[in-house]
């Protein structure tokens, strides 16, 4: 456990020493929120700022998770990871360290956005805000674990960008963050109903005083989000245990770049 905490602490220290990363994770979703909110206001829906707000917070947490776990690939390339892999630390502790670190980073970036709730035209009471915060903790953990499990199996950050565009961003688009589940055509609705992120967005939306689709009941939404976190963390531990040497483990040396 202390090894995990030390590894998580490293993530946070590194983050705070790279200022550009703070801007990189928070600014793009906020800019998008303002542009989409302003653009849709009037033509599509009056409450566009409020409607897009929960999805924006989720996107900040998703970006934070992606940036935090993409560092797995850098750790491997720069050689840091090999020192961890030869230590007696268990695979689960290696995964937990990175995921805990990424969760904290996601929360550092995601939670402060909740002060914008009134600006977005949403009405949330203290209980709602606390519920939203609790949900974000679980969601940040789940998304970081998902990113970790993907990044562990990839050789290059370019590969991660491809997965991000092909898989993670569509997952967000089809979560009810961008358009309501209820108005979507049947096949899309079905996809959205099996997307675990749909339930996290629904729970967040409801906590912040918005309306969520009926099938994503409050209890179900929390249950799915917690299960999502459990499954992704299980996957994160499994990839470390199964492929300790990562993508190159199958083809052999050389691994890190030589100086």
């Amino acid at each position: 456990m202390s090894a995990s905490l030390a590894l998580a602490r490293r993530e946070i220290v590194r983050f705070l020493r790279q200022k550009s990363r703070v801007v990189g994770a928070v600014a793009p979703p906020l800019v998008m929120w303002i542009l989409v909110g302003a653009g849709f206001k009037g033509s599509f829906r009056e409450d566009s700022f409020g409607y897009f707000f929960p999805g924006t917070v989720v996107l900040v947490v998703l970006f934070a998770a992606i940036f935090a776990t993409i560092s797995v690939i850098e750790d491997r390339r720069e050689g840091f990871l090999q020192g961890v892999l030869v230590s007696p630390v268990a695979p689960s502790s290696i995964a937990l360290g990175k995921v805990l670190g990424g969760t904290v980073l996601g929360l550092i970036q995601g939670l402060p956005l909740l002060v914008l709730v009134p600006v977005a035209g949403l009405k949330a009471d203290a209980a709602g805000l606390l519920t939203a915060a609790a949900l974000l903790v679980v969601l940040a953990f789940a998304l970081t674990a998902l990113g970790f499990a993907i990044a562990w199996c990839l050789e290059s950050t370019q590969g991660f960008h491809a997965i991000m565009n092909l898989f993670l961003i569509p997952m967000w688009l089809l979560s009810g963050a961008f358009f309501p589940v209820d108005g979507a055509p049947g096949w899309l609705r079905a996809t959205m109903a099996v997307n675990p992120l749909t339930y996290a967005v629904a729970a967040l939306r409801r906590a912040l005083g918005g309306a969520a689709p009926a099938f994503a009941s409050p209890a179900l939404s929390f249950a799915v989000t917690i299960a999502f976190a459990a499954v992704t963390f299980g996957a994160a531990v499994a990839v470390v245990a199964r492929f300790p040497a990562g993508p190159a483990g199958r083809s052999g040396p050389p691994l890190p770049e030589k100086p």
């Binding site: 020493r17 007696p88 052999g252």
Partner: protein, 320 residues
């Protein structure tokens, strides 16, 4: 009887159809410096990664302090200190932060860890850089931190992969001195190298080429397997070495001992070369670019065992 610090039993590993390591067995005692010498691509890195527990062997097994690595990987890892050829420090952390993190990975914490860090900073003359980010250190300094990091948990076995990579000659001498004092303190030191000078400093050398251990002995014993002196003759005509070798063999017969051709050079091994060289030069006036006479070096041992010069082997093996 205490088990050897490192014991490798018929280690093999292949990648696809390529056999990187074939049936390598050896053991290293406590307090011994053992060098694995070989050209790049000869199997050193594969063997190193197997011993460091990064890569499971395809066949065979090894033990550290009598503990089988396949059965007790965590206990084995606790006993290994590993210095990689590529840096393994976090450049965005300070020297002390890197060492403290290493402590956490090996279950050290609190005052004992801080005391140990202080001790290592002193040994490696790093006190005044302790709070600097690793990315601000020179290559040689960063290398010292790497080794300090590997020694933090006071492992009984230290593995080093090409440890002098990127070090200037002075820092190399320091490294040899450090490894010597660690061995005196009872640490088993196993290093890989493609530098003959570095291997000379070891108590025993294993020559690894094309995945096989070709020779295993002390540097002196390895050199003693060659007969006395080595005369190297470089032919004036670049492609003339084979013909020249044949002429030398027919002119001097058994007196010339073992003759090998390596590139443009003819090498003659014989017990006492000082009377042979003048007669050789007289016998073939104008045919030589150079003639050198010397005691056998480790490179001569390598050539005698493989029929290739070390750097040629290097080039051939590292070509894709």
């Amino acid at each position: 009887m205490t088990p050897p610090a490192v014991e490798a039993r018929s280690l093999s590993r292949s990648f696809g159809a390529r056999a990187a390591l074939t049936g390598v067995s050896f053991s290293v005692a406590r307090g011994e410096i053992f060098a694995l010498l070989g050209p790049n691509g000869g199997g050193k890195t594969t063997l190193f990664r197997i011993l460091a527990t990064l890569l499971p062997p395809g066949a065979g097994s090894f033990s550290i302090d009598g503990l089988d690595a396949g059965k007790e990987p965590r206990a084995v890892r606790k006993r290994l200190g590993v210095v990689f050829q590529a840096p393994s420090l976090d450049k965005k952390l300070t020297v002390t932060e890197n060492l403290a993190l290493q402590g956490a990975l090996y279950g050290l914490s609190g005052a004992p860890r801080d005391a140990r860090i202080g001790e290592l900073l002193e040994t490696f003359h790093l006190q005044d850089r302790a709070l600097d980010l690793v990315e601000t250190l020179s290559g040689g300094l960063a290398r010292r931190v790497e080794i300090a990091k590997a020694l933090l948990h006071a492992p009984p076995v230290l593995l080093l992969d090409e440890p002098s990579t990127g070090l200037d000659p002075g820092a190399r001498r320091d490294l040899v001195g450090l490894l010597g004092s660690l061995a005196l303190g009872g640490t088993a030191v196993l290093l890989t190298t493609h530098l003959f000078e570095e291997a000379e400093a070891a108590h025993r050398i294993g020559i690894l080429d094309r995945g096989r251990l070709l020779a295993l002995d002390t540097p002196a014993a390895l050199k003693a397997t060659l007969g006395g002196d080595v005369v190297a003759v470089e032919a004036k005509d670049e492609n003339g070495a084979p013909a020249l070798a044949a002429s030398i063999a027919s002119r001097f017969g058994a007196e010339a001992g073992r003759i090998t051709v390596v590139g443009p050079t003819v090498r003659v091994e014989l017990p006492a070369a000082h009377t042979f060289v003048p007669r050789l030069v007289e016998a073939f006036p104008g045919a030589f670019k150079s003639v050198t006479l010397g005691a056998p070096s480790l490179e001569d041992v390598f050539i005698a065992r493989t029929g290739r010069r070390f750097r040629e082997a290097d080039a051939a093996e590292s070509a894709p």
